[in-house]
């Protein structure tokens, strides 16, 4: 299943200040508004799946960031170039040893309950995130947090932390968002907040389970005075109200957009792009960065624990065929040898000489070296995930050419997730995500993903990540990223199946002056309804 693993960049504050150029072919990317933004109105958004919790600190589940990204803020947020930029922080400074980080907060920031933001709120929120957040364990070398005054937070690490800002962004799925101290301390149970109170431009009003989530503009929002910058910068809440309707069926979302019931819909099947573009009342928006589709192995037990079997699979896979199977509209697929998104400053072809896609003869050689004698190798898919099923069928067909006996096993989501962790049940699965910084690959290369019993790890990757965690200079980080990519291909940690892009659609009277709808999570800062 391609889950939105919005693993974005965010190298230490502006160090890798390489801007991204989103090259999206001929599709309309944004609706740049010509006139002055209009205040008011209700924006109806059709979301593809329900929210499982309102507690963003405790989950990585989508589409929660689409909703809570407007309610909560962190110390840092992603900018247009997918670097970590200041959000609630006014400044950040690292000591020369990289162990002590001093963060000054913006003065005058108000929570939705009227309280002023203070350093004690930040401390309590970060402490909670460390405990309940799936990504919170990234702060395990944090020794203490000092609060010299109400607007200063000093974080003391036991070891140098070169990717500290990045960690707090929680891959944009599990952001270390800031809430009032009282709420953070009272909400000890993961997934359950006593109140949903943030500092964002919209405040939470209600969530009717599996039906809708309603936000209203926070009139006391104190915006930054720099320019709009995707999830941070100057944020303007133009809309009176945003209602996120839960509409799981894609055809229904599209019909609702066409009939005017929804103003924006997410996760639109790419095959709808042409039809939507033909309707003057609608805009199809290609959303990036590109999602890397990958094949993951059981590295500890079974046939895929043998390097030669993995090399055979890497050789026989032809991503151009896979991409054709993955999308209906070729504009939404791309083959690229890099494990970093095509839009990332780290995108590189390092190690790609080891990557010989579609080389059946080579695959047969590797299978012979592995003494492979036709035993079945399984690829597990989620029954309801059409993308995974299409990928699996294409992969099985390619495997046949090399004589590899690949079988598809179909499960429901929960079983698929459970089996994925089980060394006795997993051989291969496919998934996707985007990575625009090398350190974000840490989980996939440190032996814990998807579980310690099946995950990949090597001495070389451990060394690379140790160096990455302390390194702040972009060129050196890029070189380390290239080393990591070489390791990816030489050890076949995973197989690159190509990139796909997502499709968001809106009615043409929805104005997005900052072009945010083409980027990552749904971000409605600055969005307004034209008359």
């Amino acid at each position: 299943m391609v889950r939105r693993r919005t693993l974005l960049s965010g190298v230490v504050g502006g160090i890798a200040a390489t801007s991204l150029n989103l090259h999206f072919g001929g599709l309309v990317q944004t609706a740049l508004a010509a006139g002055e933004p209009i205040k008011g109105g209700t924006l109806n958004v059709g979301l593809h799946i329900p929210l499982t919790t309102l507690d963003w600190q405790s989950t990585v589940s989508h589409p929660l960031p689409h909703v809570m990204g407007h309610v909560f803020e962190g110390l840092f947020g992603f900018g247009k170039d997918f670097n970590a930029e200041l959000e609630l922080a006014e400044s950040v400074e690292a000591a020369t040893d990289g162990k002590t980080w001093t963060i000054k907060l913006r003065p005058g920031v108000k929570f939705h309950n009227g309280e002023m933001l203070k350093s004690s709120d930040v401390k309590a929120s970060l402490e909670r995130w460390r405990t309940v957040g799936p990504k919170g364990s990234g702060l395990n070398t944090l020794g203490s947090i000092d609060l010299p005054d109400d607007l200063t937070v000093v974080m003391n690490f036991d070891e140098p932390m070169g990717r500290f800002l990045l960690l707090l962004l929680g891959s944009d799925e599990n952001k270390a968002v800031i809430m009032p101290q009282a709420i953070a301390e009272a909400s000890t149970t993961p997934g359950q907040l006593t109140e949903v109170v943030g500092t964002g431009p919209y405040r939470f009003v209600e969530y009717k389970e599996d039906q809708y989530a309603r936000l209203a503009r926070f009139d006391d929002y104190v915006a930054r005075d720099d320019g709009p910058n995707y999830q941070t910068g100057k944020k303007v809440g133009n809309l009176d109200e945003i209602i996120f309707w839960i509409v799981p069926e894609a055809t229904t979302r599209v019909a609702g957009l066409e009939s005017g019931e929804y103003d924006i819909i997410t996760e639109v099947p790419d095959g709808e792009a042409t039809r939507l573009e033909g309707n003057p009342d609608l805009d199809a928006i290609k959303n990036g960065p590109g999602v890397l589709l990958y094949m993951m192995f059981n590295h500890k037990v079974g046939p895929t624990s043998q390097l030669n079997i993995r090399k055979a699979i890497q050789s026989l896979i032809d991503p151009s065929e896979i991409a054709a199977a993955a999308v209906s509209n070729p504009d939404f697929a791309l083959t690229n040898p890099s494990i970093y998104a095509p839009e990332s400053a780290y995108n590189t072809d390092a190690g790609s000489e080891l990557y010989t896609p579609g080389d059946i003869d080579k695959a047969k050689e590797y299978l012979a070296e592995a003494n492979y004698n036709g035993e079945p190798v399984t690829i597990q898919v989620i029954a309801t995930n059409s993308l995974q099923n299409r990928l699996a069928v294409a992969i099985v067909e390619q495997a046949k050419r090399a004589g590899l006996n690949l079988e598809i096993l179909s499960y429901d989501l929960a079983t698929w997730v459970a089996n994925r962790r089980d060394p006795e049940k997993l051989n291969i699965y496919t998934s996707g995500g985007y990575w625009v910084d090398p350190s974000l690959w840490n989980a996939e290369f440190n032996g814990t993903f998807p579980s310690p019993e099946v995950g990949f790890i090597s001495d070389a990757t451990e060394k690379i990540f140790n160096e990455l965690s302390a390194e702040t200079e972009f060129e050196k980080r890029k070189a380390l990223g290239e080393d990591l990519q070489r390791e990816f291909y030489s050890q076949v940690a995973m197989v690159n199946l190509g990139y796909v892009y997502r499709l968001v659609a809106k009615r043409s009277n929805v104005m997005d002056p900052d072009g945010n709808l083409a980027l990552g999570n749904l971000t409605l800062n600055g969005v307004y309804l034209d008359a």
């Binding site: 589940s61 799925e173 019909a255 019931e261």
Partner: protein
């Protein structure tokens, strides 16, 4: 009659017990758990998974969980939903009106259209009306409800824009707001039901119309209307009511497809989502209440037999 009713109600107990025990056992035999659904497609360390299991009470042996669970179920208390942070009963009561509105309105439409067409088809057997009735009922049963739903949506919501495409509004939002969003789902659901009722009514009526007592009624010179409505239909209603009860029960459980197509937050959708999420309390509670409703419908159908045919005596 009262004794019969009480006996039938008492018979519910083992049925419900077997149903909830089966669902308890089956849900826990299936691989995966609420924790895997909660963590989703992410890497979470083992200590965190253990902590979540402890918090949800899933670290204990299944039989222990069952012993703790059973007494609560007897009182209809399924505890807290793992995903909704609310009592299961509240979650179900919140969803039940949606499914009930959908299935009840569909049933009314089914009865109002299906029975008259079935009767007329039987009365004019072999005629043009019968021919068209047969074609329409076959077509109704053959059309997949989800496809029909999308077609209705494209024509009446996207094209003509007479009604909203999807979603649900409680009746507190106003009658039209509530009703307009149910029109297309009710139409999509009732078409196949109408087909079934037309066919059952037609065949039963044909059989009854061929019996001696109907012939006797006609010989006595009774008006055809009286023969049909008072003598024939009343006897045919036993089979028709059985089918209607079945249609309603199937509608309650089977409305999930229509609920999904039209983004209606109903009970079917809740149970399906709970199964995917392995939200055990909600899943068990949902099936428990659906079982109760199905049994209640069966009881009503049985009792209706006595009304339509006084010769039936319950002992």
């Amino acid at each position: 009659m009262l004794r019969y009713t009480l006996r039938r109600v008492l018979e519910f107990i083992p049925t419900i017990f077997i149903a909830v025990t089966l669902i308890f056992v089956i849900t826990r035999l299936v691989p995966g758990s609420p924790i895997t659904a909660l963590i989703g497609n992410q890497s979470v360390d083992a200590a965190k998974i253990d902590a979540m299991a402890q918090q949800l009470g899933l670290d204990r042996p299944v039989w222990e969980q069952y012993i703790e669970w059973l007494p609560r179920v007897v009182t209809g208390n399924f505890g807290q939903s793992m995903f909704f942070s609310a009592p299961v009963v509240d979650v179900i009561l919140d969803r039940f009106p949606v499914t009930f509105s959908l299935t009840f309105l569909a049933l009314i439409v089914t009865i109002a259209i299906g029975i008259p067409i079935g009767i007329l088809s039987a009365m004019r057997r072999g005629g043009i009306f019968d021919y068209f009735g047969n074609v329409l009922s076959s077509l109704g049963m053959a059309l997949p409800p989800f496809w029909l739903g999308f077609m209705l949506m494209l024509v009446f919501a996207v094209g003509l824009q007479w009604v909203p495409a999807s979603g649900y509004r409680p009746i507190e939002f106003g009658f039209w707001n509530w009703f307009s969003r149910l029109l297309l789902p009710v139409a999509a659901l009732s078409v196949s039901q109408i087909g079934l009722v037309v066919r059952m009514t037609r065949s039963t009526m044909i059989e009854v119309l061929g019996t001696e007592y109907v012939g006797m009624a006609r010989t006595k010179g009774l008006r055809e209307r009286t023969v049909i409505l008072k003598h024939a239909l009343r006897n045919a209603m036993i089979q028709i009511v059985t089918v209607i009860g079945l249609v309603f029960a199937l509608g309650l459980g089977g409305s999930v497809i229509i609920e999904n197509v039209f983004a209606l937050p109903g009970l079917g959708e809740l149970i399906t989502t709970a199964a995917v999420r392995r939200d055990y309390p909600t899943l068990e509670g949902g099936i428990f209440y659906l079982t109760l409703v199905a049994l209640a419908i069966n009881l009503v159908v049985d009792l209706a037999y006595a009304y339509f045919n006084p010769r039936i005596r319950y002992s």
